[in-house]
């Protein structure tokens, strides 16, 4: 079942996951990342996914997948505090109804959280809005404003402000372009040049 190659984003995430850790993957899709981590990092854990078709694929892979809506606050009902070493959520922060509350839940049940999302502050988005006067539509944000799952887009700076406000420590951050490659220039102006960010965060002690 692991015929499709692991996406670059998942490869970057996998580098952060140490062997035999307990992992919760929110919005786990067809379970590809968990499958990879089970086989290559000997992790244990669960995926949560709302989409029935993706659930079926995850079950077929042998992944433990709980069908659940990330907006329903099931996470804290299902899991005790510090149940996981890592709670992962890839490309879903911007689609949930209250990203701030979900972040709290993730850091309640997990020691660290790994979060990835598209950067609304990327220069191309800014240019489309600034010069075109319209909401950006491009490869990483393909949907028109009136019909998009991305209801809470933010920039890297916005996210880091939220972390600051919530007393959340950014342990690591990787900024990449849409091909998931870091470039030299991104280091100096990530919020302008980075398209996707991977954050590893934890509660400040």
């Amino acid at each position: 079942m692991t015929s499709t190659p692991l996406s670059p984003e998942f490869k970057l995430i996998a580098e952060w996951i140490h062997s035999k850790s307990r992992v919760l993957d929110l919005g786990c899709g067809d379970g590809q990342l968990l499958d990879y981590l089970i086989q290559n990092r000997s992790i244990t854990g669960y995926g949560m996914e709302i989409d029935p078709q993706k659930n079926i694929k995850a079950v077929q892979r042998g992944i433990n997948v709980i069908q659940s809506n990330l907006n329903s606050h099931d996470i804290c009902d299902y899991f005790d505090e510090d149940s996981f070493d890592f709670v992962i959520m890839t490309q879903a922060l911007q689609v949930v109804s209250r990203p701030d509350l979900l972040l709290d839940e993730m850091l309640a049940v997990g020691k660290q959280s790994i979060i990835t999302f598209p950067n609304f502050g990327h220069w191309r988005n800014r240019a489309q809005l600034f010069f075109g006067g319209r909401m950006p539509q491009n490869k990483s944000l393909p949907n028109p404003w009136y019909n998009t799952p991305n209801i809470h887009l933010c920039t890297f700076n916005d996210f880091e402000d939220l972390c600051e406000e919530k007393n959340i420590e950014v342990v690591a951050r990787t900024v990449v372009n849409s091909r998931h490659e870091p470039t030299f220039a991104m280091r100096f102006a990530p919020n302008w040049l980075g398209e996707i960010a991977l954050y590893r965060v934890q509660r400040k002690s």
Binding site: P52, N64, D77, Y78
Partner: protein, 384 residues
């Protein structure tokens, strides 16, 4: 979709057990029969056996059809060649629960000690008793352990009991549209059903067989009530709405709305054509009321499931209000507390509790995917 086929003609078998069964109630059943059916073939390693546990009004006839009959078993849509429980891969077993009325020893059977029909004197069986009697059937069939035990509704409760009582004998547990115990509302519905039967003048304190009659009216009422709890408001609305049988109101108490006609038909069919034994109905509802595996573990379901080693698939249906998704969440939570291997699907369906018997692409998809995983697991173990 994969090609599916039918099992075809099946024949039930009967196992006579002469080892006494000590029941939870304290009564010992000296001997008993278990009526059962099997489909598919047991493989050489005996690793492909599946036990199906039936629900309140179900029986051992799960799939296929009897010689000369057109009606098929109650879960025929899900069991057969190429179906989610694929009989090309699995050896499927289902027995009629003890206390039933389809061939296994029950209230309508003759008590060997008195030579008379048991009637109301048949001991009330519990899920635990059923599971223990099914384990005797397992031994008789020389099956070392079940690849999976699967059941919906009351069948799902037996699956949980299996996972708790015989953790080493069950590798996978599939619990569908079930609950870890009945709610007060569930028990209340059962009580109304029992009162309907017991207050029927033809009930004769349960000795109706000896009196040469059956409490058909009470049984039909009980079934009507039960049936209501299996359907959803949505489904009844879309199927019947307020449709009238004669197209106009007659201002009398005859059957006027289609939904009334349907319910009466269901009740009649159950009490007459299916000839369901009223004492069995009472017994089954009691077994449901009593089911509470957490009771022996400080009322903590997580503790009750602590020893379970099976991998679980839990499925619920969105419009099921008899055993709602929230009831399945309780099971999921208890299993997660134990770090069990578990997957959970909440299937969107308008068919209420009955959805577990009906076609649905998500339900079928996840069921099939899980069964394939079980099959692949034991193929891999065999090194195929």
């Amino acid at each position: 979709m994969p090609m599916t086929d039918e099992i075809g003609i099946v024949t039930p078998q009967k196992l006579h057990v002469s080892t006494p069964l000590e029941m939870v109630s304290g009564v010992t059943l000296p001997e008993y029969d278990l009526m059962y059916e099997t489909y598919g073939n047991l493989n050489a390693d005996k690793t492909n056996a599946i036990l199906i546990c039936h629900a309140l009004s179900g029986n051992h006839h799960v799939a296929g059809q009897y010689e000369g009959e057109t009606a098929k078993g109650w879960w025929n849509g899900y069991i057969g060649p190429g179906k989610p429980i694929d009989t090309n891969h699995f050896f499927v077993v289902c027995s009629n629960n003890l206390g039933g009325c389809h061939g296994s020893t029950g209230p309508a059977s003759i008590n060997p000690l008195t030579g008379k029909v048991y009637g109301p004197d048949f001991p009330i069986a519990t899920c635990k008793d059923w599971v223990h009697s099914q384990n005797t059937l397992r031994q008789h069939l020389e099956i070392d352990s079940w690849a999976a035990v699967i059941g919906g509704s009351m069948g799902g409760m037996q699956v949980l009991q299996w996972a708790i009582d015989f953790p080493d004998l069950i590798h996978h547990a599939i619990v569908i549209a079930s609950a870890p115990k009945l709610s007060a509302q569930n028990i209340a519905f059962n009580e109304v059903a029992r009162r309907a039967i017991m207050t029927d003048p033809e009930f004769h304190d349960g000795h109706f067989i000896e009196a040469g009659t059956t409490p058909k009216k009470g049984l039909a009422l009980a079934r009507m009530l039960g049936h209501l709890t299996y359907l959803s408001d949505d489904m009844m609305g879309s199927k019947f709405g307020r449709e009238l049988r004669e197209g106009k109101l007659n201002y009398n108490f005859d059957v006027e709305f289609q939904v009334e006609s349907y319910l009466r038909y269901q009740g009649e069919k159950f009490a007459t054509k299916q000839n369901f034994d009223a004492n069995t109905y009472l017994l089954m509802t009691k077994a449901l009321d009593y089911f509470d595996p957490a009771a022996d573990f400080d009322n903590d379901l997580s503790k009750a499931l602590a020893k379970a080693t099976a991998k679980f698939l839990i499925i619920s249906f969105t419009t099921d209000w008899r055993f709602s998704p929230e009831r399945s969440h309780e099971i999921v939570k208890a299993l997660l507390d134990n770090d069990a291997d578990i997957s959970y699907a909440e299937v969107d369906s308008q068919h209420g509790h009955d959805a577990f018997l009906l076609p649905n692409s998500h339900y079928e998809g996840v069921f099939r995917a899980y069964m394939n995983r079980i099959y692949n697991d034991f193929c891999r173990q065999r090194g195929e």
